[in-house]
């Protein structure tokens, strides 16, 4: 006999592999309209010659298949998920209830404005909240996620410089940046220039002075950065970029560290994006979609995507009359129900609550950093913000156990692995973001497991190198998967 738990630890076949000829999961009612051959209903070009090879399964097969898949998943509702720079905080269920209200879930984007005043008011108020949190004057809720926000912000940079008759071609990006920053800049037609970090983990000021020039459109910065460190020279950085006509873009991926404490718009940033699916507790990592609102200070405001929601007294309307706008970046008004969930989160937390979120996120990360530093190399030994970066170089050099091996071993103990091998400037790194929603007990359990794995790396390195041992599938060949991807089922 295998227990249910063990059953959930076995690999699950594809539903196609469970197919049995003639088995069906439905029964249609008797036809109550005249029967006509399909050839009379559709043109020849629209008809396929062979039937699609759909899986033939019964209803109970389908239900069990997807239930078993759900049992071999990991997510924030199952366990700790310390994936650095992703802010995998718990998503309160009340947000889902609010997004399910018929008056919000049932509205259609083509409804006339007078029938959706409540939805428009929610968008308007959400914009005001994000303006207050980010220190900006207006916010577009259209962008669908963080990288989309980056592209939107850079298109606004471009429009701003073009209005001044300037053709600036380069974007500066620190070497600790998220990979999406250079990708967005390239998509926007810019050349990217890498700015090195200094020994404290911040922007190297001398290098920035050297690289900044009249051909630079702006600097993209994540603050706190991917080392979890707040740039101490932020005012100097802003001064160097602004004094030569450049603009500053704030990558909001790590905004969970600063709510109610520091506002990007006050520290020199011109365009800011927020990740509602990180900082504001809407689902992501398979449960999305995301939402990446973009805010601008007054001088960049005219370039924001149209429409924005304006208020005339107590009446709300979609304002399309924005002649210098870069235009629309997403169909309709963005991922509206994600905005609703984030709005519910902000309303339930309140201003005091959001400040407490950031304080607790920072406290949790520092607590964990000190515990991990007892067993792992700490490359930047200073207070961190919402996440910390430690390195597995000791384990690699002394025992031949790589960070990848230790990350795989964590799965055996029921934890999601942290982000590994990022940021690129720290070899063998682990980037750990606990978020504010974890208890001290959970942090202790994780730190204890990491200490235990460090011990295993010393006493039984092969055990760690062969991990995971208890998951439905064991160590995957990542190199083979990348070199020869096998992405779809094909009939025999």
């Amino acid at each position: 006999m295998t227990s249910q738990l063990e059953a959930g630890r076995r690999p699950e076949p594809l539903i196609f592999e469970m197919s049995s000829p003639g088995r069906i999961a439905y029964s249609l009612p008797a036809l109550d309209v005249p029967d006509r051959p399909v050839e009379e209903c559709l043109p020849a070009g629209a008809l396929r010659r062979t039937a699609p090879e759909l899986p033939e399964v019964s209803e109970v097969d389908v239900v069990r298949h997807f239930t078993r898949l759900s049992q071999i998943q990991h997510g924030v509702d199952i366990g700790f998920y310390p994936l650095g720079s992703c802010t995998m905080k718990y998503n309160p269920k009340v947000n889902e209830d609010m997004a399910s209200l018929p008056g919000l879930a049932g509205v259609h984007p083509y409804f006339p404005e007078e029938l959706v005043q409540g939805a428009l008011e929610l968008l308007y108020r959400m914009e005001r909240y994000l303006c207050e949190i980010g220190g900006v004057s207006r916010v577009s809720l259209q962008p669908a996620a963080g990288a989309h926000g980056e592209l939107t912000g850079l298109l606004m940079f471009r429009a701003y410089h073009a209005d001044r008759g300037e053709n600036r071609t380069r974007i500066l990006i620190p070497d600790s940046a998220h990979g999406t920053n250079p990708a967005s800049a390239i998509v926007c037609g810019y050349q990217t220039v890498e700015v090195p970090s200094d020994h404290r983990g911040g922007v190297d000021i001398e290098a920035l002075k050297r690289l900044m020039g009249p051909d630079v459109a702006g600097l993209m910065l994540t603050n706190p950065n991917t080392l979890g460190l707040f740039d101490e020279n932020m005012a100097t950085v802003a001064e160097i970029v602004h004094s030569q006509g450049g603009l500053l873009y704030y990558d909001g991926a790590n905004a969970n560290a600063i709510m109610g404490i520091a506002r990007p718009g006050d520290t020199g940033f011109d365009v800011v994006h927020f990740n509602l699916h990180k900082t504001f507790a809407t689902p992501h990592g398979g449960g999305g979609p995301g939402s990446g609102p973009v805010g601008a200070v007054a001088k960049l405001e005219p370039y924001l995507p149209a429409p924005l929601v304006d208020a005339d007294g107590d009446r709300y309307r979609l304002a399309y009359d924005r002649p210098r706008s870069i235009g629309r970046v997403k169909s309709f008004y963005g991922n509206f129900l994600v905005v609703v969930k984030a709005y519910a989160y902000i309303r339930s937390m309140g201003a005091e609550g959001l400040l407490r979120v950031s304080e607790d996120a920072v406290l949790n990360a520092n607590y964990l950093m000190r515990k991990l530093a007892e067993h792992f190399h700490l490359p930047y030994d200073r207070h961190c913000k919402h996440e910390c970066v430690v390195s597995g170089v000791w384990q690699k050099d002394r025992h031949g156990v790589r960070t990848l091996d230790m990350a795989k071993r964590l799965l055996d103990y029921g934890f999601h692995a942290p982000t590994i091998y990022f940021p690129l400037i720290v070899p063998e790194c682990l980037m750990v973001e606990p978020t504010e929603t974890e208890s001290r007990q959970t942090l202790d359990a994780f730190a204890g497991t990491m200490a235990h794995i460090a011990g295993e790396a010393e006493s039984d390195p092969d055990l760690v190198k062969g991990a995971p041992h208890t998951t439905p599938v064991k160590r995957l060949d990542e190199a083979l998967a990348a070199r020869k991807p096998n992405l779809r089922w094909r009939p025999e």
């Binding site: 190399h377 390195s391 170089v393 990848l404 091998y421 070899p427 990542e478 190199a479 990348a482």
Partner: protein
């Protein structure tokens, strides 16, 4: 790790083996070890003019995508087509079969600015210790 004598090396961990006005270029053993299993190499186009320090390729591994910088200026005269099917040649034989492209040198004197094997061996060891 050992590196071939006679090659010249960059601080960004490329090597160049020059002979008769041409030079083969690849990544060092140190570089491939830090990248991990390489899954894709973007080869430069034959005929392309490169400046010294210009990005000639992006190498993707299971860990990261990394830019590679040309050790010298010149024209690309050949590329290692084998890498399209076997990018792991760089992992298996970084200083030999894993070469990436061949350059017709614009100015062979440029190589004097690069490191010799003793200097690079020390440099790579120090980089490794920095962790």
């Amino acid at each position: 790790m050992t590196y071939p004598a006679g090659y010249r090396y960059t601080k960004t961990h490329e090597w160049i083996a020059a002979e008769g006005g041409k030079g083969k270029v690849g990544l060092t053993d140190y570089a491939q070890d830090h990248l991990g299993d390489i899954t894709f190499v973007e080869l430069p186009e034959v005929g392309r003019q490169l400046k010294r320090g210009e990005v000639f390729s992006v190498v993707e591994s299971v860990k990261a995508a990394s830019d590679c910088y040309s050790p010298a200026g010149g024209r690309v005269v050949a590329v290692n087509q084998k890498l399209e099917g076997e990018p792991d040649l760089i992992n298996r034989d970084p200083h030999g079969e894993g070469w990436i492209f061949e350059l017709e040198l614009a100015d062979p004197a440029e190589l004097d600015a690069l490191m010799d094997v003793e200097t690079y061996s020390r440099f790579a060891a120090e980089e490794g210790e920095k962790g």
